[in-house]
Symmetry: D2
Subunit: 137 residues, 4 copies
């Protein structure tokens, strides 16, 4: 599991007095930083060397989030041949407030084609698989 | 169908030279403005009167989007008793680049409870249902 | 003058019921698109060819902005040897609501050095100088 | 001084391979959270009780920022009768990369009028004034 703590910014609160749904897209992306460091420790982002493209994201909004710190917990959920899935959960004051997934594809931006995930990367990702008992509360 | 044209901003392009996934969350939200005007023509956003809460969003990233205008086409996809679903598609230069959905629940922020969608709103939403033949290309 | 009309997104409204200050940074950047098309009509963004780097921005918040369309008017304000200044104004329902500037430097990202603005670009920028009588209302 | 450490998100890097200018507007806003806790420890954001409105922000972009952690240092710079100024600096790997200011006005959103800063708040803000020797490097 990766865990990051996010301090919302003032403008993340929308006219309904709670955190706007778009903030979760930003926060879950921030929560993938430790995972990005697994696939490319140099964190150099360019089309020549960066190996991941986003295929899918989804978000379930379970409880309203307030203007307080939020913990984002992330797990590797599935490791396929050419893609893998990350699960994210947003927790605030002991409550699961949002959950979602991101499907990332191993990709060559020069040829615009997906490609197999190297075995070494698969092994490192496997170290962050959600433990069997760690279901959502 | 609702159609809005979005001019990406410079910073929507990420280090891979294409539009970052989070921009789609912003653009699809902007594309819901005509729909918000159906449920509350005054567009007054506050917890006393605003009737919608977001329950779910998802995004499929089909083709890379470039730093050019993008058309967002939106349809009502499902009208339930207390919630409805909006479909969004992002089109650029004749190609479907991203698609997604938003599930919105009729909600009373004073009591924190969902409530039935008024019949008049249902009728207006029904005028924007995706026509049977309008499947994705 | 360049003019673009922005439809705020729901989440641009913050907990005070008005548009959050950060939205203006996004909108003024979007308003620079026609200007970016002057300096590089291909709008290809990369470190090899893109000629501009941001040196300064500022924002004066004059009147609260509501969840309605906003017009952003932009002028070239100053053309120097290696940099130029753009002025932006946000207008809503006949009122100036925000104003600001961006200073952009002609730049070579390969050598990390500023460079003179080509004369042809200067001429094109000069076509968008604020007319002498066009002071703020 | 307040200090917060920001982990940029992937999409904060723009097509030039460095952090986009708009990210600084978000980060400086996040860096004001400890200050917001001074003026209203409940951090309840609504038009009935929230006492601050933004009047001005500015940003100087001094050095390019990379996809690495950034420290935002904030100081109170000026305490007037009805407004005060906050200075922010973004530091990365020992270098000042961006600096800016925010002018916040004590405000009554019910009457839409500025009002004097309470003496107790002034005293608390004064505890975070930039020390005389702490000029920018």
């Amino acid at each position: 599991m990766f865990s990051v703590v996010i301090s919302p910014r003032f403008g993340d609160v929308d006219g309904l007095g709670h955190i706007n749904n778009v903030a979760l897209a930003c926060w879950f992306e921030t929560a993938r930083n430790p995972l990005f460091a697994i696939v490319d420790p140099s964190l150099t982002i360019n089309r020549e060397t960066w190996p991941l493209i986003m295929a899918h994201t989804d978000y379930d909004f379970v409880n309203q989030i307030h203007f307080r710190d939020v913990e984002i917990r992330s797990f590797v959920d599935r490791i396929g041949t050419k893609s893998f899935t990350i699960c994210h959960e947003a927790w605030q004051e002991g409550r699961l407030c949002a959950a979602g997934r991101a499907v990332l594809v191993y990709f060559n931006f020069q040829t615009n084609q997906s490609r197999p995930i190297p075995e070494e990367i698969k092994r490192k990702l496997a170290g962050h698989l959600r433990p069997p008992s760690a279901g959502r509360v």
